[in-house]
Symmetry: C2
Subunit: 434 residues, 2 copies
């Protein structure tokens, strides 16, 4: 890989997510050369992907060019690539654009959708972990509606406008709420020649409550809000198969749908090359100590979703959300500087700021360490926390204006099928025509 | 096709461009059933495509959902489809989603890129007539830069950052200017480890002046502005071949480039089924009389780019730009109402409001019927005319805010490679990974 040699030790960061970016910022003009690698040239603000999927925000509003983050950093390089392997013996990484040696390596590859080994569901469903996937969902919703207009077969039509979301975590809950808003405010108006009241939004949860990482009160409130919006919340139901038409479950329930959106779980986005002893099987995470050092290595670190740091409070590792990633990234920035000076590193302590989820246009549930609240005020809190977490003044301003507009007008303008999702489409379009 | 029967005569409009939308608006709640067909579910504001291509605006800012235009129209239907053929004998159209009979048919399919029969150039170049194409150009520019970082081969690197635009009309000129701004304001900062000064923007024009549909003064000013921005304006050069690496011309000039953007001409986007006698060969337009009636038919009309209405002032037909399309669409709305009442239709008279083009961040040339001006004031005029021509309050507001931001900050935030253009990429990504 074409990176100039430097007199400073080289830190390679794999991944420009919350952890990688937090670390990169901390390393600004520190006595290291930094090489940041990602397969996208932008940072994604994942908590708002569901708004891109439902046309409330444009993709550009929740993405930020990585090169802009590191504009003013000295001896800092970004490369767009996919890392295939880590060679721990020779301290180098092997990417599709070449090899590069490191003094320190930071693995911050995040997580990816977990289908728990079910290849059939993986093939026939759609996930929402990236911006292109969110745009695919947006196209798919609209394509389904356009297609529903073309058929006189009631079963087919109902299947096209039946949206099944599997997984009752924050992603599934927020997407279900936004879909319900879309149904009520947009689709009814846009499709006067279709009986939009027949549109179903089914949220399937394997456990006995949705948002099961939050308080029971939040679960209850969220379920109440969703039901009010017309979402069917199906608990204690585990999806066992989906052939693209019919969902079977571990109960008597069978759902006929053209669309299964899978938000039921994540696993680490693993990079090859680490010894099996350093890995947590099944969840695909990497064992790290309290300094985020990978088990068995002094110069290799893992951060965020991919890192499994076991503590008394978190015997399964920290939750795979933004906060632990950001906090670990920041701390490692300081610890690397200490390490270079042969000072003692500071162990990580997670400061749980709480968690929240929004449901529909103006409700949310918020769990703070000591308080719990829900409703419109919670939604305000949710809104401002997310707004201020976005990188960049312009993204903040554009998102805020969009939200104000969408709120006042009951509107979402992003209902454009820019890239059709159904390649083998119901029409004869080919991708190249677009 | 699944359209309810109506007691009113049915008007089918093929195409939701400037002409089709202007007509649709005029037909609101007139005593006709209207069926609007388009292969996209949005109207595209084509004059600003170059800003999407260069990251100044998001796609959603210059597109407008067609269904939103016709929200409050009675007996009005939209279908997303591709029309394959017109059956003039049986008064019906044949689309990929089925057939539909009409009482009146309006062909407003617009125009598409004209490669003048050169299949090799068509295969290896990229055009800018649609939003997906503009997004492809945006991705391609950034992908070229990322790729240029990976090579030590100077010739290859220079070829990757050499952008050749063929065609010196408004599209080529505006895109060249925006690319030059992008080079100066963005790429220099984003790629500190690349010698961005080596980036070339070559604008190739076959004739002896650019903007040859405008006044000579405008051509001169535009060329001066482009040169000041660092664009090479190559006149009296006709591109004869391009194999993806080397451009040959009818002169000694040879250009080595990875990117040819073809803006050299358009032709009508023809629909099959009309008799040859009604067509203008080569340019693929449809002969219409002063009421936009297709030659030989009373109930079939053609509007805008696809229509060739010969007048004394326009012996080759009207220019293929927005204004004639909008004016013809509006007039046909009135004339159809007259036709239904058996009243006399009004002949079309083109009201030439002038033409303009913008060059770079704050210059433009404007030709009004009686005046010509250029420079910063012309740019203000250009900006407000385009702003007010956009459909929808939100699009106006968002575009305006973006322009203010881009102007003040010398920035364009849309530098995200959301969908990579190079499918057989320099990396090993496959499309599905994104």
């Amino acid at each position: 890989m074409n990176i100039p040699k430097s007199n400073l030790p080289r830190v390679i960061i794999i991944g420009g997510g919350f952890a990688g970016i937090a670390l990169a910022k901390k390393l600004k003009n520190k006595p290291v050369q930094v090489v940041l690698l990602d397969k996208h040239n932008y940072h994604t603000f994942q908590p708002l992907l569901y708004q891109v999927a439902t046309g409330g925000l444009e993709a550009g509003s929740i993405a930020y060019p990585i090169r802009k983050v590191i504009h003013e950093h000295n001896d800092f390089y970004f490369r767009l690539c996919h890392v295939n392997e880590i060679d721990t013996k020779n301290n180098k990484i092997i990417a599709d654009i070449g090899e590069l040696s490191f003094d320190y390596l930071v693995i911050a590859t995040g997580s990816k959708t977990n289908y728990f080994g079910n290849k059939e569901i993986e093939r026939n469903s759609i996930a929402m972990k990236t911006i292109p996937q969110s745009l695919n969902i947006r196209s798919l919703i609209l394509e389904n509606f356009e297609q529903a207009l073309l058929t006189n077969d009631v079963a087919e039509r109902n299947s096209l406008i039946n949206f099944v979301l599997v997984g009752g975590g924050p992603t599934g809950v927020e997407l279900a709420g936004a879909l319900a808003e879309m149904k009520n405010a947009i689709l009814q108006k846009d499709y006067p020649d279709l009986d939009v009241s027949k549109m179903q939004i089914n949220l399937v949860q394997s456990g006995d409550r949705i948002l099961n990482t939050m308080s029971e009160k939040s679960s209850e409130s969220a379920e109440k809000y969703l039901k009010k919006l017309g979402v069917n919340v199906l608990k204690n139901v585990r999806v066992t198969s989906y052939d693209g038409r019919t969902i079977s479950t571990n109960t008597d329930l069978v759902l006929e749908t053209a669309t299964l959106i899978w938000t039921a779980g994540v696993q680490g986005a693993m990079v090859n090359g680490l010894p099996a002893s350093a890995l947590v099987e099944k969840v695909e995470r990497i064992k790290v100590n309290e300094f985020n050092q990978v088990l068995g290595f002094e110069n290799i670190f893992a951060l965020g979703d991919i890192a499994s740091m076991l503590t008394e409070e978190y015997p399964q590792g920290h939750p795979q959300v933004a906060q632990p990633a950001i906090q670990q990234g920041k701390l490692l920035g300081e610890n690397l500087a200490k390490l270079l000076k042969k000072e003692k590193m500071k162990p990580f302590e997670y400061n749980d700021k709480g968690s929240m989820a929004t449901i529909g246009r103006n409700k949310a549930v918020v769990d703070l360490p000591k308080y719990h609240f829900h409703g419109v005020f919670a939604w305000f809190v949710w809104m401002f926390v997310h707004l201020f977490s976005l990188i960049g003044f312009k993204n903040k301003a554009v998102v805020f204006l969009n939200w104000v507009y969408n709120y006042i007008r009951f509107d979402r303008e992003g209902r454009l099928i820019i890239r059709p999702y159904k390649k083998k489409s119901f029409t004869s379009f080919t991708f190249d025509e677009f």
